[in-house]
């Protein structure tokens, strides 16, 4: 072999890993085999740094049907299976924002429909660098139009998401996409190969040289030579995806296949070896039969290509022709490219000649697992007296509302078709999304949340807060959480500090989920979000699915009437650290994030769910981030009426107006409201102005329209001049 050092470096394998490969094979690997191990043992595919920690997460729950380990997780709702998962496409979106985001959507859709579910919703969590810089604007514009350019044609509504901005994302933007699908409970499909002797059918786009080593690219830092890796950009074809989706659901409907897996990272290699490994069989692949897009492709390239819009299925005995006929009807190529075998070998042939021969399990399940050294971060405990000084609250309110962190996201979501499939009962704009399930009384509520600002200050606390926030968003709609999926975005895990952030985050998530008794059903880890040594803040993205008992009576802004009371539920503490107020008004980063008392949080959420289901309030909103005043103003924009507030507080005013204490919600209701948590009536819905008296003195008096204009225009004025 030519210069081994160089070869290993190119394949992102360590010397020890190479030795391990040699001892598995009992010989030196050939180049093709080295390629196989390189992708399958990459961080992206093998979770080698994260595996031992992820195992700690709770994966049991009363609604759980399928936990982590399959293409997507599954919970039960309204007698149906809800299949969902979130995945990152961070690196590709930095290299080519439009295609990176588009193919991210394509990939997560396939993860859901491979399980036999029809995708019914997409959500996305996006993090970019500050928009003052044109390069960041270009990335954001590309990502948003890429999501639209893929999701819209496929006909899956993008019903929600979140977007925020921090300096560190300038070179490592985050694009986390979540997909939710619905299947019949008894018709879920898994990545299984059945038994020996079955045909492997390749369906979808022909294979090109796309994204060879995409998985390894996602497993390394960006450095000087990122430039040449750019050739790996993949172009998405949403039209083909739509056809692939319909054809795949049809072969499932007709019960023609045993198992199926999409060809995502590490393409043909991972899909075939993973299915075989789960069923304890071997696999033979005839690479010369794989449909190709480019001339002169080698076995190495065919095995590692990450071309989009491809599926690998294991046919039921004798059903090959019927399967092909279904795909043919939809205009999709389908060919037999291999078969399952007795034994445990993964073998690939090229015109009859064997080009790779390794144990299946060595690729799929025996990748090394590392217990990387870690050093847990010290939480930021900063707290300053100066923060609490009284200021011009009107000015603070205006600045927060028109800041990129809080301004209306309409410019984004109106580029997404969020109504196709006619299930979207609660449109984007006013909190979590609600979808109806046709033919049922029940619906599902969906939300995705992340807060890198908290993560930077205290990763463990951030994980707890983010889980609580996601569930609170659901509770405001009367929805009980059924399960979560998550995406963990970090820097280089080989650095003990970063690994420490990761461990802390997982522990926080575990603590919160165990407390709420809600399982993780799957997720994704994205490491190496680091450029020239500078890492992103640890960012945990939580995607949650909740059950709505009756979608006809959900709280919504349209139900609020003039004269209704505005009630604050919950506990207000002294939580200003890492808040929007600090960041936007005082220009200070960091500070001790809010403290959360999980018992109180649970009480609040129970009350919200109970009151919502009883129809006791018209609308409710969660207060973080931004705090009470900005979130109230935003709620009023959706309601279309003003309010008169009268607030009494013994503490410094800023805590009440802009503090970000969790375990609180604002509720709009008529009459009196009684609850098992502290309730304070703070005002009335009224007129066209927002006025607020604090301890008897008028502090805010603004026409709602004026506030709304700046909130609405922030993104259009940046992008649509």
């Amino acid at each position: 072999m030519k210069n081994l050092e160089k070869l290993l470096e190119e394949h992102n394998l360590t010397r020890e890993e190479y030795e391990r490969i040699k001892s598995i094979l009992g010989r030196e690997p050939n180049l093709v085999e080295l390629g196989l191990f390189s992708v399958m043992w990459s961080e992206h595919c093998s979770y080698k740094s994260s595996r031992i920690h992820l195992k700690k997460l709770p994966t049991r729950g009363k609604y759980l049907i399928q936990g982590p380990g399959e293409n997507a997780g599954v919970v039960e709702a309204a007698g149906k299976a809800v299949v969902f998962k979130v995945e990152s496409h961070n690196h590709p979106s930095f290299v080519e924002p439009y295609q990176g985001a588009a193919t991210g959507v394509g990939g997560i859709l396939r993860d859901v429909f491979t399980m036999g579910a029809r995708p019914v919703a997409l959500l996305d969590s996006l993090h970019f660098g500050p928009l003052e810089r044109p390069s960041n604007r270009a990335i954001m514009e590309g990502v948003v139009s890429g999501i639209a350019g893929y999701g819209n044609p496929v006909g899956v509504p993008t019903v929600g998401g979140e977007v925020d901005f921090e300096e560190e994302f300038s070179h490592n933007p985050l694009v986390n996409v979540m997909c939710v699908g619905i299947a019949e409970k008894e018709k879920i499909f898994y990545a299984r190969a059945g038994k020996p002797g079955l045909s492997l059918i390749y369906a979808g786009a022909p294979t090109g040289r796309d994204g060879i080593h995409g998985a390894t690219m996602a497993s390394a830092e960006f450095g000087e030579e990122t430039e040449h890796k750019k050739v790996n950009v993949q172009v998405g074809d949403p039209f083909r995806e739509k056809l692939l989706l319909e054809a795949t659901l049809e072969v499932m409907e007709r019960d023609l296949i045993v198992g199926i897996q999409d060809m995502g990272a590490a393409g043909l290699t991972s899909s075939s070896s993973e299915m075989a490994s789960k069923s304890g069989v071997g696999v033979d692949l005839y690479l010369d039969r794989v449909p190709l897009r480019e001339e002169g492709m080698t076995p190495y390239e065919i095995l590692l290509s990450e071309s989009q819009e491809r599926m690998l299925m294991v046919a039921r005995e004798g059903k090959e022709e019927e399967i092909k006929a279904v795909f043919d009807k939809w205009g999709i190529d389908a060919v037999v490219v291999g078969k399952t075998t007795e034994g445990d070998r993964f073998r690939a042939f090229w015109h009859g000649e064997m080009v790779a021969d390794v144990p299946v399990k060595s690729l799929a399940s025996d990748a090394p697992a590392y217990e990387r050294p870690y050093k847990k971060p010290n939480p930021d405990e900063t707290w300053k007296e100066s923060w609490t000084r009284e200021r011009d609250w009107e000015d603070a309110l205006k600045r927060i509302l028109s800041s990129p962190h809080m301004a209306s996201r309409r410019w984004i979501y109106q580029q997404y078709d969020h109504m196709v499939q006619t299930n979207t009962v609660l449109l984007p704009g006013a909190g979590a999304a609600v979808l109806k399930i046709k033919g049922q009384k029940e619906g599902i509520a969906l939300t995705i949340d992340a807060n890198p600002g908290w993560g930077r200050a205290n990763p463990e606390g951030a994980a707890v807060l983010t889980v609580a926030e996601a569930f609170r968003n659901l509770a405001c709609l009367g929805a009980e959480p059924l399960g979560i999926t998550n995406c963990l975005n970090f820097g280089n895990p080989e650095k003990p500090d970063i690994m420490g952030q990761f461990v802390a985050t997982v522990e926080g998530m575990k603590r919160a989920l165990e407390f709420f008794e809600v399982p993780v059903t799957g997720g994704n880890v994205s490491f190496y979000n680091e450029t020239q040594g500078k890492a992103i803040p640890p960012t945990v993205t939580i995607g949650a699915v909740g059950l709505v008992e009756d979608y006809m009576v959900i709280p919504r802004p349209g139900r609020v009437e003039e004269g209704m009371g505005i009630f604050l539920l919950g506990w207000t503490g002294r939580d200003l650290g890492s808040s929007l107020y600090l960041k936007v008004v005082l220009g200070e980063e960091g500070g001790r994030p809010p403290e959360i008392n999980l018992e109180r949080e649970r009480l609040l959420q129970r009350e919200l769910i109970h009151l919502a289901r009883e129809g006791r309030f018209a609308y409710a909103v969660d207060l973080s981030p931004g705090g009470l005043l900005p979130n109230l103003a935003e709620a009023l924009f959706h309601i279309g009426m003003g309010a008169e507030l009268s607030i009494e507080t013994e503490d410094e005013e800023v805590y009440f107006l802009f503090g970000e204490s969790p375990s609180r919600a604002l509720v709009f209701a008529s009459g009196d409201l009684e609850a098992e948590v502290p309730v304070k009536k703070i005002g009335l819905v009224k007129g066209e102005r927002l006025t607020a008296y604090v301890n008897g003195r008028k502090k805010i008096d603004l026409p709602l329209e004026e506030l709304k204009k700046d909130w609405e225009n922030f993104f259009p004025s940046l992008f649509d001049r």
Binding site: S145, G155, F239, K242, G331, Q415, L427
Partner: protein, 227 residues
């Protein structure tokens, strides 16, 4: 003809994505009969109203609706239209009717170049078509749009002809996309082929925010029943 159900046909092209929504509304909300019509066939299966639903036929590659116009089913639709059959094109279906020459004009990219999905207010301009019998002229209705190529264009003479014969059926109250004369929907001279960019099937159930679109399906059904 009593209360016999009217059969609608919903055409499915590769890339159509509102077929199931349209089918659902016709069957479960309007209570009529409905069948799918496959693009590769020529049989309209006895449909009395043919609907070309929204979506991205052939990915909207080349131009929106440009490739779908060559489908075998479109030959049947053309003949059906020539015999006076009712044809309704929604969004991508409208674009296909334009490309096929069954309606005049063409679609350009939206003025802002972006896809727009949101509710729009429309004015009903013509309540004498088979599709708008149940609306009132001048009535304001709300329906969602969801498109990137909805900027209607026709050359001046064609536009004058269209306006002259009251061929504009719906106009936007606030033009979202640059359409000439705020046009949102038009009908052919014979009055049996209509196309519109807004989605009536997304405005047919109260929980989705509007029921203003439902009357379009009900109106077509009534027209067929009474003719």
């Amino acid at each position: 003809m009593g209360n016999r159900k009217v059969r609608f046909g919903v055409v499915v092209f590769p890339g159509t994505n509102c077929d199931r929504d349209t089918y659902h509304v016709i069957q479960d909300v309007a209570g009529e009969e409905v069948v799918y019509l496959w693009h590769g066939e020529r049989d309209l299966k006895g449909s009395r109203v043919v609907v070309l639903p929204g979506g991205f036929s052939y990915g909207d590659y080349l131009r929106s609706g440009a490739i779908a116009r060559f489908s075998p089913i479109m030959e049947a639709v053309r003949e059906f239209a020539e015999e006076g059959g009712l044809v309704l094109g929604i969004c991508n279906g409208f674009q296909i009717l334009l490309e096929a020459g069954l309606l005049p004009g063409a679609m350009l990219r939206n003025r802002g170049l972006r896809f727009i999905c949101r509710f729009e207010d429309l004015v009903v301009e013509n309540d004498e078509t088979p599709f708008t019998l149940l609306y009132q002229r001048g009535e304001r209705i709300r329906m969602p749009i969801a498109h990137i190529d909805g900027n209607y264009f026709a050359e001046p003479r064609a536009l004058a002809e269209l306006e002259g014969r009251r061929g504009v059926v719906f106009r936007y109250l606030k033009n979202p996309n640059g359409s000439l004369n705020d046009i949102a929907g038009i009908i052919n001279p014979r009055g049996n082929v209509m196309g519109l960019m807004p989605h009536p099937e997304r405005a047919s159930e109260a929980e989705l925010g509007s029921t203003d679109g439902l009357r379009m399906f009900l109106s077509a059904a009534r027209y067929v029943r009474e003719s």
